[in-house]
């Protein structure tokens, strides 16, 4: 294959790719992201391939398997273009009908259409669905249109134009200036200005320099980076190349979790393609700039999301962080100047170079520019990946994009920032989402996990959940984090098992502050946040656990009991049969059943099984 030797060449290939795309009359996009794979999209894709071949339609109709389209909950997803029919929850049996009716005749199939849970109205097109309508897709824009394993598809959306612009029309300083002016801040959690970081690394004299793309997305409840890598890997590569050119690096690393096999596969394919086409390697686009990328698969350690630990891991060591300064920009990988940015940050870079800092600046709030991708999960109707402008309120995210809380329940809080973040109570849902406002209310932007919690979520249990996580993931290097998080967890375990005592809340607060002040790295410095923010906003729940020995949300097993409501029980015997410990007694058709609390292990089987909702969870301990 001929290598692309100049920006003119690139333009030719882009034109050719667009012409090839426009020639196809109908194309069907199927989401092939990990979420949809979990819902069985591969069977539907295979069936579609077979049927199109059977009907000899492969020439006029193209099936495109894309990366994550975001609406994971409704998967498998399909859009028939250009008409735009959007179908969800598709099964292999539906394929025949889709081809015959929708693809060939333009008729819609009612049962596969999206139905608004609030209005019960059927919505035909993707862009009219509230989940999509209320988003602003910038980085994610092409995820639903291109095949991540075809570089031609990336060319067809002007891919690598940003790189050509940077290499030929801008100096290193001008690129950095543009990124500084755009106001782009790191999307991995810290929110440090990206342009500044580049400037520091650029200023260093020592060579070689490295760029690293941090894809060690470890926050539980967050999967934005995975979906970008899966769905549009060339966008990330292009961003890395521009960054590498600007700071003067000739080698880059993508540090990606081994738990994301599809992302690893797609980024590997993209690197191979970029090398074949001459976009990686020597003398890129004939500009004299040389750059290559290596993949490093992470081995499962949350701490490796911290940049100094990540570098230790690439060096083949235990992933332990070290004190900063020196910062990676001065002394990073193998002691050389290194620039580390997150996947989403790099994904924004080509767009800024192509469209200019002013365009990027026009989205967002004063100190938080651009859009942000969030994974909206937990107790919310529309779960999935969303991209929204900075400054949107949490209420808009939960209710307009997310479609509200399932089962008619009340929202209680939204957790942002993963184990380093905090829980924002429902009274504060009207705050605009940006870096500053989130930290003012005791949380952080983090990498973009938003977990919605309803009245059935126990906030003490949530705090314990995160502490259990950070305590386990603490690398053990510095004592405040290693011992402090363990002591906090012990106290929380005591409180949730009914052994809480007066002074525990104050002790948690004091310990938390000390750990924040004295820990070595970001993990320890933020680990107490979930506890401190839940004490701040939900102190009454802690008090109920400690003084009333009761879990108001009905979660903590030692502070609740199960009760059979006599009036509702029809003595159908189902609960007794599913009880694993024989805690339920009764005769079919006889008197209401009796549940022995001293035997019950609160596994929930009986509640799930009972058709009459006759078994309830009662907060508190049985007398």
């Amino acid at each position: 294959m001929a290598k692309i030797a100049s920006p003119k060449d690139l333009e030719q290939y882009q034109k050719r790719a667009k012409a090839a795309r426009d020639k196809i009359e109908t194309f069907i996009t199927m989401c092939g992201g990990t979420g949809c794979q979990g819902s069985g999209c591969q069977e539907v894709i295979n069936e579609m391939d077979n049927k199109l071949a059977e009907k000899e339609l492969q020439e006029s109709i193209s099936l495109k398997v894309t990366g994550c389209q975001g609406f994971c909950e409704k998967g498998p997803l399909m859009v028939v273009r250009p008409a735009g029919n959007f179908y969800c929850n598709i099964q292999p049996d539906d394929v025949e009908e889709i081809i015959e009716k929708t693809v060939l005749k333009g008729e819609s199939i009612s049962r596969l259409e999206y139905q608004d849970p609030k209005t019960e109205e059927h919505i035909l097109k993707e862009e009219d669905i509230p989940f999509y309508q209320n988003q602003e897709r910038v980085v994610f824009k092409n995820n639903g249109f291109i095949s991540p394993t075809k570089i031609e598809d990336y060319f067809s959306v002007d891919g690598y134009s940003g790189l050509a612009e940077a290499l030929y029309n801008m100096s290193q300083e001008e690129i950095i200036e543009e990124v500084v002016n755009s106001g782009l801040r790191g999307r991995g959690g810290g929110g440090f200005p990206t342009g500044q970081k580049w400037k520091f690394t650029h200023q260093e004299d020592s060579n070689p320099k490295y760029v690293i793309c941090n894809s060690d997305e470890g926050d539980p409840g967050a999967y934005m980076d995975r979906s970008i890598l899966e769905g549009n890997p060339h966008l990330v590569l292009e961003g890395m190349m521009i960054g590498a050119y600007a700071i003067g690096a000739s080698l880059g690393f993508i540090y990606v979790r081994a738990e994301y096999p599809l992302a690893v596969k797609h980024i590997n394919i993209a690197i191979e393609q970029a090398r074949e086409w001459g976009l990686l390697g020597e003398d890129i686009l004939g500009s004299g700039f040389s750059f290559d990328v290596e993949i490093m698969e992470g081995a499962g350690a949350f701490i490796c999301g911290e940049e100094t630990a990540l570098m230790a891991s690439i060096e083949g060591k235990r992933g332990m962080p070290r004190p900063k300064p020196p910062f990676p920009a001065n002394s990073g990988l193998w002691g050389q100047p290194t620039n580390i940015n997150n996947v989403e940050t790099f994904g924004n870079v080509p767009l800024i170079i192509k469209n200019g800092a002013d365009w990027f600046n026009s989205i967002g709030t004063e100190n938080s520019k651009g859009s942000k991708i969030f994974s909206l999960v937990g107790k919310v109707n529309n779960t999935g990946l969303i991209e929204v402008p900075m400054g949107i309120t949490l209420r808009e995210i939960v209710f307009d994009v997310g479609g509200g809380i399932p089962g008619g329940k009340e929202v209680k809080a939204v957790q942002s920032g993963g184990p380093s973040g905090g829980c924002i109570p429902k009274d504060l849902l009207d705050i605009p989402v940006d870096f500053d406002r989130l930290s003012e209310v005791g949380s952080i932007m983090g990498s973009g996990g938003l977990v919605v919690m309803d009245e059935d979520t126990c906030m003490v249990d949530v705090a314990k959940f995160f502490l259990d996580f950070t305590q386990d993931e603490s690398c053990g290097e510095c004592p405040p984090c290693r011992i402090g998080t363990r002591r906090m967890l012990e106290i929380l375990n005591r409180i949730t098992s009914g052994e809480g005592k007066e002074g525990d809340i104050e002790l948690l607060e004091r310990l938390g502050e000390d750990i924040i002040d004295t820990s070595l790295c970001g993990l320890g410095q933020t680990a107490p946040n979930p506890v401190i923010s839940t004490i701040q906003y939900f102190k009454d729940e802690y008090e109920a656990h400690i003084y009333d020995k009761s879990c108001p949300a009905g979660v903590c097993q030692d502070l609740i009991y199960y009760n059979i409501i006599e009036e509702e029980c029809r003595a159908c015997d189902r609960c007794r049969r599913v009880c694993p410990v024989e805690a339920i007694e009764g005769e079919p058709g006889g008197n209401p059943y009796i549940l022995h609390d001293d035997i019950c292990i609160r596994c929930g089987n009986c509640i799930e099984e009972c058709p009459f909702s006759a078994i309830e969870i009662v907060p508190g301990q049985k007398e």
Binding site: R226, D292, E294, L333, G378, G449, F465
Partner: protein, 156 residues
């Protein structure tokens, strides 16, 4: 069980060659685990010699990262995701159900070597929480009922 340790040499050679600037150490451990399903001590010793590092260094790295296993898995490996989204949607109850059903604790293997059980921090399929993985395959929107069907029917 006799292990074919020659594979270890190939793995080390290959990874040394491929790595441009990263250390081959972790990739070597990953590939050994992919080959044998876990990290047998004999394989580690051989790899350490080939890599020119001490066994202490190599074991130190292996024990640091969650991915590495120092004992073999069961025939069917079940992983319950306990990420935040899965947690608030009931993952702890799924873990308890599996522990009861298989009569082992998380991290253990059943006596007949048929099942092993682990939890994961987050597998990134939060939209279909709670999620379990059986032999690497995703099962979303899990319930206890689906788990017993899976164990009692499909995996028999």
């Amino acid at each position: 069980m006799e292990l074919e340790l020659e594979r270890v040499d190939e793995i080390v050679e290959k990874n040394k060659e491929e790595a441009q600037k990263k250390s081959p150490l972790i990739p070597v451990l990953q590939e050994i685990q992919n080959t044998y399903g876990w990290l047998p001590e004999e394989a580690m010793k051989r790899a350490a010699r080939k890599l020119g590092v001490s066994l202490a260094i190599l074991s130190g790295v292996a024990s640091f990262y969650n991915e590495f296993r120092l004992k073999p898995l069961g025939e069917n490996h079940i992983v319950v995701c306990t990420g935040t989204a899965c947690h608030v949607r009931g993952a702890p109850l799924l873990v308890a159900e599996l522990e009861r059903n298989l009569d082992i604790k998380v991290g253990q293997v059943t006596e007949d070597q048929k099942y092993s059980l682990e939890t994961a921090r987050c597998v990134g399929s939060c939209a279909v929480a709670p999620v379990i993985l059986v032999n690497g395959e995703f099962h979303g929107n899990m319930t206890k009922k689906k788990i017993s069907d899976l164990i009692n029917d499909e995996l028999q």
